[in-house]
Amino acid sequence: MTTFDYFQIILFFTALTALTPLLGNFMYKVFTGQKHFMLPVFGWLEKLTYGASGIDPRKETDWRSYTFNLLIFNLSGLVFLFLIQVFQGYLPLNPANLPNVSWHSAFNTAVSFMTNTNWQGYAGETTLSYFVQMIGLTVQNFVSAATGLAVILALIRGLSNKSSEKLGNFWVDLTRSTLYVLLPLSILLSVTLVGQGVVQNFKSYDTVQTLEGQEQILPMGPAASQIAIKQLGTNGGGFFNTNSAHPFENPTPFSNFLEMLAILLIPSAFTFTYGKMVGSVRQGWTIFSAMLILLLTGLSISLYAEYSANPLFGNLPLMEGKETRFGITNSVLWATSTSAASNGSVNAMHDSLSPLAGMVAMINIMLGEIIFGGVGAGLYGMIIFVIITVFIAGLMVGRTPEYLGKKIQAFEVQMAMIAILLPNLVILVFSAIASVSSAGLSGLNNYGPHGLSEILYAYSSAAGNNGSAFAGLNANTVFYNLTLGIGMLIGRFGVIIPVLAIAGSLGNKNVTPDSTGTFRTDNWLFIGLLISVILIVGGLTHFPALSLGPIVEHILMNQHSTF
C-alpha cells in the first residue's frame, strides 16, 4: 500500500463522518414533522400521496396495526413484482424482446427486491426488460428502503414514548422517507453519475463494429436512475450483471467514490438522527463509533489479506475479478462497505477475493448487518444487540437493565433473541442442506473449501438481506431460487416483527429518570461491551463453519494447495 492508498481511505471516512450530522439533522427534521428546505419543493407531493391513497396522516396506530400495514404493503409489492416478471413478454418497453421470466426466478427476484436484499440470480441485461427494471425494481428499491426507515422510526417512538401504545403512522413514515430523503438524493446522485458516464436512455441495444472488425452489442437502458437508488437505499441490485464493476454502471474512480459513499450515507447519518430523536446526540455517536470501529477492523484485515502475497500467483497483486481503474484498495474498501451495509452491490468479484478478505465480507453479513447495515435495518439490528448488551450488563451488576430510561424485561430480551437467532438459523440450516444435496452442490464453480464458502456466502447474503454473492455459484435453479427466497423472507420479517413487538412493549412503559446507579450507554465502556457482545455472539455461531471454509483455504493457499 502507498501513502496515496491511505489518503483515499482517510478521505472516504472523513467525508462520511462529515456528512453524518448534516444529513442526520435534516432527517431529524423530516421525521419529527418540522420545517425543512425540501418541504416547499415536495410538500405538495406528500399531500397528493395521502389524497391519492386515501390516508389520514394524523391517525397513529399501535404496534399491531403498524406491523399489519407494513406486511400487507410489502405483500402487495411482492405479488405485483412477481406478476410483471412472468408476463414480461406481453408488456411494453422491451426492445431486446426478452421472454417471460420463469416462476422460480421471478419469485426469488420479487422477494429479493421487496426485502431490500437485491440478490440477483439472473443477469439484468439478458433477462429483464426496461419495463420490469423501472416499474418493478426501481420502485421496490425505494419502498423497501423506506420500509426499513419506517421500522426504525417506530422503534424510536417506542423508546421515547411515555406510556403510550401509539407508534406513529406507517404510511406517513413510508411517504416521508421516500419523498424527502430517498427521492431528492437519488435525483442528485443519478444526474452526477451520468456526468461521469453512466448510461441513462431508452435506446435499443447498440450493435457496433469493433476496431478489429468484430461485432459487439452494447446494452443500454435507464441505468443511472436505478443505480442511484440501489446505492442509497442499501439495495444493491445492479442494472447489469456485473453490477458496479460494469463500466456503464461505474465508469470512473470518482463515480466509484460517490457510489461507495452512497452505500453508507443514510445508515451512517441515521445514527445522528437517532441520537436527536431519543434526546441525546451522544447516544447516536456511541452507536456510530461502535459501527465505525467494527468496519475499520474488518477493512484492515481485508487490506492486509489482499496486499499480502499469494504464493500461487507469483506474489503479484491479485487482480482477478477486479477493474484496473479501481485497483486493489478501492475494490477492498467497496467490498467491506457493501457487506457491512447490507447493500450488496459489488465493484469487484467477491468470489475471487483472497480467502481472508472474502471471510471479512462474510462476517460483516453474518453479524446481522449491523455495521451501519441497511437503511433503517442496520440501526434496528444494532438496537437489538444494545438490548442484549444492557441485559448482560444488568445481570453483572445485579440491577434491572434499562436503556434510555426504559426497563428491559423478559419480553424484550426474548424478542431480541428471536431476531438474532432466526437469520443465523437460516444460514446454518440451509447451508448444511445445500452442502450435502446434489441440488446444492451442482451449482458450485469452485471446489475444496472455497466451494463451501460459496454456499455459506449465499445463505448469509440471503438471511442478512445483503444481496452480494460469491457469484460463481449458479443459483438460478429451482433449489437455490426457492431456498434463498425463503431465507430472505425469514431474514427480513423474522427481525422486523420482533423489533416492532419490542417497540410496542417499550412504548407502554414509563420512563424512569436517570440516577447515579444507572448504567450509562453513551461512553467508551459501553462501546467496548457492545462490540464484545456482537463478536461473541457472531463468533460462537459461525466460527466452526468459517474455519472449514475461508480459514482452511487461507492455510492451504499458503501451502500451495489447489483445487
Partner: protein, 197 residues
C-alpha cells in the same frame, strides 16, 4: 381489506412516481446536460460507431495493444467474470499460460515482471483499461509488426504517456490507459491503411 386497498393505492402512486416520473425526469435532465455520456460515450469513426469509450474490446492481432483477459471475450451480453477463487487450479493454469504467452508474443525476457492485470481477468469482462506499464511492454512487438521506424517508435511511447490517465482529480483511483483510445491513435500513427499488415 381496507389496508389492502390502501396498500394497492399507495403502491400504484409510488409506482408512477418512482418508477415512471423519476426515471423520465432524470432522463430528460441528462439528455439535455450530458447527451453523449447518457447514450453510452460512443466513439464514431468514418461515420460508423466503432465502440464505446467505456467498454473494452478484444484485440487478438499483434498490431494492436492487447486488452486484459476477459471471461466473456468482451461480449457484453451478459457481462461477467470467471469467479474463480484464489486456490482454483483452473485460474492458476490460466495465469501461467497467459504469462508464457505474453512473454513470447512481446519477446520479453522470461523473468520480466508483468503487471498482473494482463494475466488475470477483470470483474466486468469489459475493463477498458490497462496500466501504462502493461502498454509499454507491448510497444516493441507492435513496432515490429507495423514496421515502425525509430521516429514512429518514439512517437508511440509519447502517445502512451500522453494518453495515460492520472488518478482522477489527482485523488481517486489508479493510473491507467484506455486501450481502445490508444489503438485508435496507433492506427493514425501508422500513416497508412493498416490492412496491408
Amino acid at each position: 381489506m381496507k389496508t389492502l386497498i390502501t396498500s394497492i393505492r399507495i403502491l400504484l402512486f409510488f409506482t408512477v412516481l418512482t418508477g415512471v416520473v423519476y426515471p423520465l425526469l432524470v432522463t430528460v435532465i441528462v439528455q439535455l446536460a450530458f447527451k453523449d455520456k447518457a447514450n453510452g460515450s460512443l466513439i464514431i469513426k468514418d461515420n460508423k460507431v466503432i465502440g464505446s469509450e467505456l467498454i473494452g474490446q478484444q484485440f487478438d492481432s499483434t498490431i494492436y495493444f492487447s486488452s486484459r483477459p476477459s471471461a466473456i471475450s468482451y461480449n457484453p451480453l451478459p457481462s461477467g467474470a470467471s469467479n474463480y477463487g484464489p486456490t482454483n487450479l483452473k485460474l492458476i493454469n490460466a495465469f501461467n499460460e497467459r504469462k508464457t504467452d505474453f512473454i513470447r508474443v512481446n519477446r520479453l525476457n522470461s523473468r520480466s515482471e508483468i503487471p498482473s492485470e494482463m494475466l488475470l481477468a477483470s470483474a466486468s469482462g469489459l475493463d477498458p483499461h490497462i496500466s501504462p506499464k502493461a502498454a509499454f511492454l507491448q510497444v516493441n512487438r507492435i513496432a515490429i509488426a507495423r514496421h515502425f521506424n525509430s521516429i514512429q517508435r518514439s512517437m508511440l511511447n509519447e502517445t502512451i504517456e500522453k494518453l495515460t490517465e492520472k488518478p482522477q482529480f489527482l485523488i481517486f483511483g489508479e493510473e491507467r490507459i484506455n486501450v481502445l483510445n490508444l489503438n485508435i491513435v496507433l492506427d493514425k500513427l501508422s500513416f497508412s491503411d493498416h490492412s496491408k499488415y
